[in-house]
């Protein structure tokens, strides 16, 4: 048996394996946690006096960004460890991190736009933070396009690890731009808001009560579970592709 077919057999074996128990527990915990935080944010928390019901979107909006932060952070970690160790699993984690993070940051942008419509009276404005968040999304869209454009698998993995590490700078900029560029109108809920911030509200104990569990869920369980599923999917896809090559070459 050649080395190639051996790895195919291994890949197929891995792909067919049933879900590990830990993954099933994680999935269940994520679903239940999501339902619970939705309840806290949509029902249990009090309605904001000034902004009304639309303020509740904040319990998704901000955690989604931090979920993206974790996912993109895992991409950096996966990239570094792939370059250092050369294990394919790390590259799969990096790819999954990009896809999950991309989805989360889209949620972040969309919920932000929905909130901004009644509060800022516009769906979108070219505010520094909004702009940098949009650029962050585009960077990771570029990652996916670039990845699709490189044929050689080993080269693809090395290149995308490099690009995944570089891209993280845009995440850091989005996170910190609010503190550096003073003329943003985006409110800061935790800490002092910039002078021009519009639509800010106080982090009362009720807000904190609903926000903290949601933030923790999006920071940890949500990205971890989704990335794990995506990594398993990638393993299957690869096994399928290898099988195809094998059959075609026969």
């Amino acid at each position: 048996m050649t080395e190639n077919t051996q790895s195919i057999a291994m890949g197929a074996g891995q792909a067919g394996r049933p879900q590990p128990r830990l993954l099933r527990v994680l999935t269940l915990a994520t679903i239940l946690g999501f339902a619970a935080t939705l309840y806290l944010g949509l029902v249990a928390a009090g309605t904001d006096i000034q902004q009304g019901q639309v303020q509740r979107i904040f319990y998704i909006h901000m955690p989604a960004f931090f979920g993206a932060f974790t996912a993109f952070g895992l991409t950096v970690l996966g990239g570094i460890l792939y370059l250092a160790r050369g294990s394919e699993t790390w590259d799969k984690i990096a790819l999954a991190g990009v896809e999950v993070g991309f989805a989360f940051s889209l949620i972040n942008l969309l919920t932000g736009a929905i909130w901004a419509r009644p509060i800022w009276n516009t769906w979108w404005t070219w505010d520094p933070r909004l702009t940098s968040a949009a650029i962050m999304c585009l960077t990771y869209a570029a990652y996916l396009m670039l990845r699709a454009g490189i044929e050689d698998r080993r080269r693809k993995r090395a290149f995308m690890s490099v690009y995944g590490i570089l891209s993280f700078v845009t995440v850091l900029i989005t996170l910190f731009i609010i503190r550096v560029v003073p003329e943003t109108i985006h409110p800061v809920i935790v800490g002092a808001s910039p002078q021009n911030a519009q639509g800010t509200f106080e982090a009362t104990s009720g807000v904190v009560m609903a926000l903290t569990p949601s933030l923790l869920l999006w920071l940890t369980l949500m990205p971890a579970t989704l990335i794990w599923h995506r990594v398993r999917l990638e393993t299957r896809l690869e096994a399928l592709q290898n099988r195809k090559i094998e059959i075609l070459s026969e």
Binding site: L83, S161, L166
Partner: protein, 225 residues
């Protein structure tokens, strides 16, 4: 035995610059592109005097970065097509030295373009861009985005649609430079108090340092087979 670091950097940069001074192909191409881009901007934005003062630094930086994209692609493609990169990689030259050499030649050419554009825009826009502080900002900023450009060109030059992918890969990551460089240039041109442009310039220098270090570390993985 390893090739000494600094002489290797200089040798690689000198080779590129010598090729460029003999052909003058790239710089003339970039200058022409930059001129056209400035023209297009002034028609598209319909710049009157007040708007011009607001937007001149933005026009300058966007033009410079777009023009430099042409250079990055060529600089790497030329190494690849003639197999020169593989040959250099076979020698015991440190990977970092190759990167810095390519970066130096790219930055010199882009900087030359910047120094052509500054007096030109001074004449065309009726604003004094020939200020040592603007030149300093330009130098720092150019080194920063050329670092990313050099790294990413090495990366995209081996992909399928190489010319098309470089801008997509580069522009989002180069955004911090556009942001800080235009901020500094704008403050200098508006005659704002020193702390304002110094702050932006300091941020620009910090970002440049971070990217330089990152690109230097990562370049080895990009060219490795």
């Amino acid at each position: 035995m390893k090739t000494p670091f600094l002489p290797a950097v200089i040798a690689i940069a000198a080779k590129d610059l010598r090729a460029e001074t003999r052909s003058r192909e790239l710089l003339s191409l970039m200058t022409l592109f930059a001129l056209l881009s400035i023209l297009v901007f002034s028609f598209a934005l319909d710049l009157d005097k007040r708007v011009r003062e607001e937007s001149v630094s933005g026009v300058f930086w966007v033009t410079l970065i777009f023009a430099s994209l042409l250079g990055f692609n060529r600089s790497m493609a030329q190494e690849q097509d003639s197999g020169a990169l593989d040959a250099i990689l076979l020698t015991p030259t440190p990977r970092g030295a190759i990167f810095l050499g390519k970066l130096l030649s790219n930055a010199m050419i882009t900087l030359a373009l910047g120094l052509i554009l500054l007096p030109l825009m001074t004449a065309l826009y009726g604003m004094n861009l020939l200020d040592w502080r603007v030149v300093l900002t330009t130098t720092v900023g150019v080194f920063g985005f050329c670092a990313i450009g050099t790294l990413l060109a090495a990366l995209t030059s081996r992909s399928r649609a190489r010319e098309a992918l470089l801008p997509i890969a580069l522009l989002p990551i180069a955004l911090p430079f556009v942001l800080m460089a235009t901020r500094a240039t704008k403050a200098i041109l508006a005659g704002a108090p020193a702390p304002e442009w110094q702050g932006a310039l300091f941020m620009l220098a910090a970002i440049t340092a971070i990217y330089l270090a990152l690109c230097l570390l990562l370049f080895g993985y990009v060219v490795e087979e």
